[in-house]
């Protein structure tokens, strides 16, 4: 090939590569740096690139003023250094912010490594109650006991004192943060003794519980996340017939054509098996590809809808750049029958987006309802940017946003910690329903949805 031709080819292709690379998720490696230096660079990076600094009113100078001295004081104490990185996640109320370690042992947060043997739950009619009791608790505790105090602190002060930094992901809404704190009330450092003041039949009594190792299966890759209720789902796409003519599809993620085809195939198979009502379970759905989520949403509509405009940090302009626009279009199959969509606080990313579209359909389609105890994770940015930190930690964060048709950020919680998709049918926060949910975490909401919005079995 003549030299001029090769030069022309390279000249033509270089800008192509440059344009594509400049708007991709970022990846930084500070793992070999001293922790204080790594923290400093990480804060610089997040201050300039994290997609929701203004939206969530994050003051990075304030974060630096709090964390830098803690890191300096940590010295060679690995646990103290880990705590600073965890505190960074707590400062970012965003379900797309994720801190993980390849070493499961390192992933355990010492302040919440022990379980008290009780699961607590928030109710509207009785405050925080005991919703589940493990055999290990072995004390005078009964289901439905009302929590009055923890180690002498009243409930609200006890909630405030919980180590929220133990959550390895950002909790984006005030509801989600409170739920996280309620979960943490049932945990403490290994070996700690915790005294709960409980009320039953109008009388208070105290029980003292030991925080024991309840991490369970050593093969479990994410035991701490499972105990805190933020583990990824095991089933990516699963379907089965429930009683009567109700079909059930659990969708754990929306990844590429595979899950799109699996969902389509599952809908067709369930219909052939007699399903005329459907439960679409998006609880714990941890996202995937935007277009795939839009295409799955397209199964439940017969017209086109605007879904989102995606932006991403552009290295060249050092600003958010529009990447693409995604539209929901009618798909090859149309489920024109009742569907109940289940969500929870772990429905995140494109799972959040899918729930958003189905809730939007529900505004005009009485056959669609969104059911859950709480709203979704309120985190719909363009995730995937990473920073490798000392100690084997990796921090993931979003460098892009999802915008609505008017160009405003959609779904992600703002500085008031409000956002996400709220259920059109909220499961009641009563003692009765909370106890039933704790007894059957998977089945209760399915039964509730079938009974309330799908007309019963």
């Amino acid at each position: 090939m003549r030299p001029f031709l090769l030069s022309a080819l390279l000249a033509a292709l270089l800008p192509v590569s440059g344009c594509v690379l400049s708007v991709r998720p970022l990846s930084d490696d500070y793992s070999a740096l001293p922790p204080d230096e790594a923290l400093d660079l990480t804060l610089d990076r997040l201050a300039s690139i994290y997609a929701f600094t203004d939206w969530k009113a994050i003051d990075w100078d304030d974060v630096r003023d709090r964390l830098a001295p803690e890191m300096a004081a940590a010295g060679g104490d690995a646990e103290a250094r880990d705590r600073v990185f965890r505190a960074l996640v707590e400062a970012m109320p965003d379900g797309h912010v994720d801190l993980w370690n390849d070493d499961p042992a390192r992933d355990h947060c010492p302040e919440a490594a022990g379980g008290l043997g009780v699961q607590l739950s928030d109710t509207d009619d009785a405050g925080i109650i005991v919703a589940r009791i493990e055999d290990s608790a072995g004390a005078d505790i009964a289901l439905g006991d009302r929590l009055i105090a923890v180690d002498g602190l009243d409930v609200e002060r006890a909630l405030e004192a919980t180590p929220l930094h133990c959550y390895p992901i950002g909790l984006a809404t005030s509801d989600r943060r409170r739920a996280g704190r309620v979960t943490l009330l049932g945990r403490a450092p290994l070996g700690a003794e915790v005294t709960l003041t409980l009320a039953r039949d109008g009388a208070d009594h105290e029980v003292t519980l030991d925080a024991i190792d309840d991490l369970g299966d050593p093969e479990d890759a994410q035991p701490m996340r499972r105990l805190l209720g933020v583990a990824s789902p095991e089933d990516r796409v699963a379907s089965r017939m429930l009683d009567g003519d109700v079909g059930y599809i659990a969708l754990g993620w929306e990844e590429t054509l595979l899950s799109e085809r699996q969902v389509r195939g599952a809908v067709e198979a369930l219909w052939r098996d007699g399903a005329r009502r459907l439960v679409l379970d998006l609880r714990d759905n941890d996202g995937g590809t935007d277009q795939t989520a839009a295409n799955i949403a397209g199964i439940f509509t017969d017209r086109a809808w605007f879904y989102e405009t995606i932006t991403m940090y552009d290295r060249r302009t050092e600003a958010q750049a529009v990447i693409s626009e995604v539209t929901v279009t009618p798909q090859e199959i149309y489920w024109d029958l009742p569907v109940a969509v289940l969500v929870n606080g772990n429905t995140v990313s494109s799972g959040d987006g899918l729930a958003m579209m189905l809730a939007r359909f529900a505004e005009t389609d009485p056959d669609i309802a969104v059911v859950g105890f709480e709203g979704t994770a309120a985190s719909f940015g363009s995730s995937g940017s990473t920073i490798a930190l000392p100690g084997g930690w990796t921090l993931t964060y979003p460098a892009g946003r999802s915008l609505d048709i008017d160009g405003a950020i959609q779904l992600d919680s703002d500085h008031t910690l409000e956002g996400g998709v709220q259920p059109t049918h909220r499961a009641p926060w009563t003692v009765e329903s909370r106890l039933a949910h704790a007894a059957d975490p998977d089945g209760f909401l399915i039964d509730y949805a079938v009974g309330t919005v799908l007309g019963g079995m």
Binding site: M1, L10, A12, V16, D302, I323, T327, P330, Q331, E332
Partner: protein
């Protein structure tokens, strides 16, 4: 990756035998003569001349549709530097739920080393939707109406054609000029092989686009491409 592709296509062209023909150069109104064939790799349409003024062609996998397209191109005018052809085609998504009907018309005008090509196409995309209610019903609806217009200029320098091209829709889902693709290419002839390399920039928002992974590719870069010309 681009460098690898360049090396690969360079290697492919090495054993080619010299041949003077520009046969089957895409985007013109010129058709292959009877018995000539062109295979275009890795994407593109492969054609077989069935008469001196007609060719049949196939695109094994059209990315946006997700299926195979077959068509016929018939040259209606060929003389005084002016040529005109029409090309009806039909495509079917591999899942059989979408059908695309397209009629393209190419007009080329050539003087010495200059050639201007105008390619107009009208595509009607039909969706066969299975609606799951108490009974399954199948409805046929229009999925997309797309009328792209492409203007290109070719400048021939010996065995090389330099091409500048602009594509924009006259209509895309009811909206005109919603996007444009400006591209440049170098097409070099190595005997039986045409090496077609270049880059394009997409500006605007097509109603339907490829979504590769998490982020859409902003740029149309289906290059480089190799044409192998055969005489059967």
């Amino acid at each position: 990756m681009p460098a690898v592709l360049i090396l690969l296509t360079t290697a492919l062209t090495a054993p080619a035998r010299a041949d003077p023909s520009w046969a089957g150069l895409r985007g013109t109104a010129e058709t292959l003569d009877a018995g000539e064939a062109v295979i275009r790799l890795p994407t593109g349409r492969s054609s077989l001349g069935v008469s001196d003024r007609a060719e049949v062609w196939v695109v094994p996998f059209e990315l946006v549709l997700g299926g195979t397209r077959v068509g016929l191109e018939r040259q209606l005018i060929d003389g005084d530097g002016l040529s005109w052809s029409v090309s009806p085609s039909v495509a079917e998504k591999w899942s059989l739920y979408k059908t695309s009907l397209q009629l393209a018309s190419a007009l080329s005008w050539e003087r010495s080393v200059h050639r201007v090509n105008l390619l107009a196409a009208a595509e009607l995309r039909l969706l066969r939707q299975a609606s799951f209610a108490e009974e399954v019903t199948h409805t046929l609806s229009v999925d997309r109406v797309h009328v792209p217009l492409t203007v290109s200029y070719d400048h021939t320098r010996g065995d090389t054609v330099l091409r500048a091209q602009l594509m924009a829709p006259l209509l895309d889902e009811g909206e005109p000029l919603t996007f444009g693709v400006l591209s440049g290419a170098v097409i070099h002839r190595f005997g039986r092989f045409h090496l077609d390399a270049g880059a394009g920039l997409l500006v605007g928002r097509p109603s339907e686009h490829l979504f590769l992974g998490t982020y859409e590719h902003l740029l149309v870069a289906a290059y480089p491409r190799v044409d192998l010309w055969l005489s059967l």
